[in-house]
């Protein structure tokens, strides 16, 4: 009954989105106030009904109702409760339902927080949001119904992929989707503005917090996935440039560019058409990412031949939404008048370079990801574009970006004084260069690129700090007062840039100075890695709720003293039968010691396959991202970003 109610609620939400998408928009275009007033209630109603639908599906998972196909395929009674809940979105149908839920959540949030928006823009934004929702509801109801029943039903489900049974991954999709879908708001604002035919500083001020919110979630979501890959897959890597990762990275790059170009629109009333285009592209990449992941066009072997209608549906939807908005852009963009001019050396031009580099990076990632497919479609040749290409091409673009990032905040709007910047920051640059070289030799040298990245990280860190110190006049009287009075948005910017600097140092450390050993180890064997002596003590058998495992015990000594005992596990899940590894990691500020245990090498079970990694500064990478997201939220709390703040004063 509950499941059927969920299905029914989904149909109601679909209908409401149709009403919300069409009537208020028509009202706004023809000036009928009564129709326009439908906007908000339908947005709330839609969110209410999708929540019921989602709740019903979650309920079916919690009580293990195997008469629902989706539950039978993806759950199991023995699974811990957390993973029963997360299984709701750990499958195709459920994850699309989660998409729809979050989309409706954002719709309701815009309806609520955007009440002070100009009425016609408000209605248009909500209608566009609803029309995107409509596409997802139809996709669910027509091709991927999560509530489909099964008869006769099995007594037991076939279980969830054990790799998904991990706290990191349980929360990865909701966070990632909060980011992906958050960009839909920016998109709706952009399309709304195109229909209105005007973009101004106020528009940018309304859009920035939504973009920032989406950016924060997207950053957190991507990193959570990367962190999961790092400790769960046990390969010692944290980014593999595979199509699914790239699909989430492309919208992030564009969203980051958008974050910066919206500032230019707000402060200087220029770059309008470009910002609108970025807003459209950012969400397009979200949809494209969903298409790539969900259709299996790049990732799977033949998954698609079995169910072509899903892929065709998403592609058609993609074409309508993206193609339609880009066409609208082409027709209407000329209406957006460009504002203030700026000199080649100015804050604006630095932000333009930032935008150029980030969007080229996004394009290159897209080109590299799709290249094998393009090539295959055009010539039938098969080719692999793997991590070496992305590392080279992406790295090439990031070097100038990091350089400019250090300069940008110190440059003034309109026309900056190049000589002044150089004289102030030249010293900072020289110092970070020297420091980088010193560290480089201390760490025993290596590839020259390692020194370059180290230098860029230090440069960005020092320049960010210098700019902040300069801004608050750190060494003059009453500095504390000025520090406290800094606008939250600029404090957030400093944290954001600082976080990236820390993360860059982490990347350089773990990529260039990481060491790795693969050994067959017998009990009592000792290995030295990263300055630690690792002693393999023994193994124990473990019985978990739905798996059995072998747990190794490794004593970690530094200078003869035991600092930790690491207990990596090799698990064998029962349903579905699948082995996984649980790495054990000893993290310090200086780096991670990472141990993975595999299978026994002999019949007496006292020799085991073991992989050990030492990843210097790995913790900095994760910590840096935390600082970045923290900066984002600080910026978000700026009072100027509170919805309608600007509007109130105008009235």
């Amino acid at each position: 009954m509950i499941v059927e109610s969920g299905h029914y609620a989904l149909i109601l939400a679909c209908t409401l989105s149709l009403v919300q998408g069409i009537f208020p928009l028509y009202g706004a275009l023809t000036g009928r106030g009564r129709l326009m007033r439908l906007s908000a209630p339908t947005a709330y109603g839609q969110f209410f009904f999708v929540s019921i639908a989602f709740g019903a599906l979650m309920y079916a998972f919690i009580v293990s109702d195997f008469s629902v196909v989706n539950v039978a395929k993806n759950s199991h009674t023995l699974k811990p409760m957390l993973y029963k809940v997360s299984a709701t979105w750990g499958n195709h149908e459920g994850s699309i339902l989660l998409w729809a839920l979050i989309l409706a959540l954002y719709g309701a949030a815009v309806a609520f927080f955007g009440r002070k928006l100009p009425k016609t823009l408000y209605v248009k934004v909500l209608s566009i949001q609803a029309l995107i929702g409509l596409g997802f509801y139809l996709f669910l109801l027509l091709t991927s119904n999560p509530f489909e029943r099964l008869y006769p039903f099995p007594m037991e489900g076939s279980g969830l992929n054990p790799l998904l049974q991990d706290p990191g991954l349980a929360f990865h999709p909701p966070l990632l989707y909060l980011g992906y879908v958050g960009l839909s708001v920016t998109f709706s604002f952009a399309v709304g503005a195109l229909i209105e035919g005007r973009v101004d500083a106020a528009w940018a001020r309304w859009v920035r917090p939504w973009t920032l919110l989406a950016w924060c979630f997207l950053t957190a979501g991507i990193t959570l996935g990367s962190w999961w890959a790092y400790y769960e897959l046990g390969w010692g890597g944290w980014w593999f440039w595979d199509p699914v990762e790239n699909a989430s990275f492309m919208p992030w790059l564009v969203a980051t560019a958008l974050l910066h170009s919206a500032i230019v629109v707000e402060k200087r009333d220029t770059l309008k058409a470009w910002t609108i285009l970025l807003a459209i592209i950012a969400f397009s990449f979200s949809l494209l990412g969903t298409f790539i992941v969900r259709s299996g066009v790049l990732t799977s072997v033949h998954a698609f031949a079995t169910d072509p209608e899903r892929g065709v549906f998403i592609l058609a939807f993609l074409f309508l939404v993206i193609g339609g908005s880009l066409l609208l852009f082409a027709l209407r963009a000329d209406k957006l008048q460009a504002g203030g001019l700026f000199a080649p050396i100015s804050r604006e031009s630095m932000l333009v370079i930032n935008n150029l580099l980030l969007s080229v990076a996004a394009m290159v990632v897209m080109f590299g990801t799709l290249y094998p497919l393009l090539r295959d479609a055009l010539t039938g040749d098969k080719i692999t574009v793997g991590p070496p290409f992305f590392n080279l091409a992406f790295g090439f673009l990031m070097i100038p970006l990091l350089l400019v990032m250090g300069l940008g905040p110190s440059a003034s709007w309109k026309r900056a004084d190049l000589a002044g910047i150089v004289s102030r920051l030249g010293f900072v640059f020289a110092t970070s260069l020297v420091a980088a070289l010193a560290f480089f030799y201390m760490l025993g040298g290596g590839e020259i690129m390692a020194a370059v990245w180290l230098g860029l990280g230090l440069w960005l860190m020092a320049a960010t700090f210098y700019e902040w110190a300069d801004r608050v006049k750190l060494f003059k009287v009453n500095a504390m007062k000025r520090i406290r009075r800094q606008p939250r948005a600029s404090v957030g910017m400093s944290f954001g840039h600082l976080g990236l600097a820390i993360a860059v140092l982490g990347m350089a450390g773990s990529s260039y100075w990481g060491t790795e050993q693969q050994k067959i180890m017998a009990y009592g064997d000792e290995i030295n890695i990263g300055g630690y002596d690792v002693n393999f003590r023994d193994t124990n058998g473990i019985i978990g709720p739905n798996y059995t495992a072998v747990r190794g015990a490794f004593d970690i000594r530094k200078n003869g003293k035991i600092v930790a005992t690491l207990e990596p596990e090799a698990r064998l899940f029962s349903t579905p039968p699948m082995p996984t590894t649980e790495a054990a990691i000893y993290s310090t500020l200086m780096g991670d010691l990472f141990i993975v245990i595999g299978e026994a090498n002999n019949k007496t079970y006292d020799q085991w396959a073991v992989r050990l990694y030492y990843k210097p500064l790995q913790t900095w990478l994760w910590g840096g991202v935390v600082v970045m997201v923290f900066g984002g939220f600080i910026s978000l709390s700026d009072r100027r970003f509170r919805m309608g703040a600007a509007k109130k004063k105008i009235n």
Binding site: S300, Q337, L356, G368, G598
Partner: protein
């Protein structure tokens, strides 16, 4: 993220994946072993996504690792080992696409896109400079602008 792959992959290729692949027989000479590992990092695990044979535990990846070590012991140069693989599996087996006539667009794409971008920016800027200043604001716009400017904090 990669988990979606693991789910959708291997529809017809049945291979046990995901275990810790540690090869028993590493090369006795540490320098050769390091060379072998470097070559392995360049080779794609055929049944995985964008993953090198070093990182994979698929039995086929293990066989290919063995072959790499054998070829090195037999005195092959790095190029010869890679050629051995491409002869059987095509350039598809190389994680780094070769730089040749057919991939030149791919490899030069960052530079080309940057140049195009710079060109567009340059043209836009010089065009805008030559154009007259945008039409003056109407009264309402001016009022709003003033409010915004008043309120604007340095950022």
């Amino acid at each position: 993220m990669r988990v979606f792959l693991s789910i959708t992959l291997f529809i017809f290729i049945t291979f046990a994946v995901h275990a810790v692949g540690v090869d028993e027989k590493q090369l006795a000479d540490p320098a050769s072993e390091i060379r072998a590992q470097e070559i392995m990092k360049k080779l794609r695990c055929l049944v995985c996504q964008n993953q090198s044979i070093v990182d994979s535990d698929a039995p086929l990846a293990k066989d290919l690792r063995e072959i790499v070590r054998e070829r090195i012991t037999a005195g092959d140069t790095d190029e010869e080992v890679l050629f051995f693989m491409t002869k059987r599996y095509g350039v598809w087996v190389l994680l780094k696409p070769p730089f040749d006539r057919t991939t030149i667009i791919l490899w030069l794409s960052p530079v080309l896109l940057l140049l195009i971008g710079f060109f567009v920016i340059y043209r836009n800027q010089s065009q805008r400079k030559s154009l007259a200043v945008s039409p003056p604001l109407n009264k309402e716009e001016e009022k709003r602008l003033r409010v915004l400017l008043d309120e604007r904090a340095d950022d």
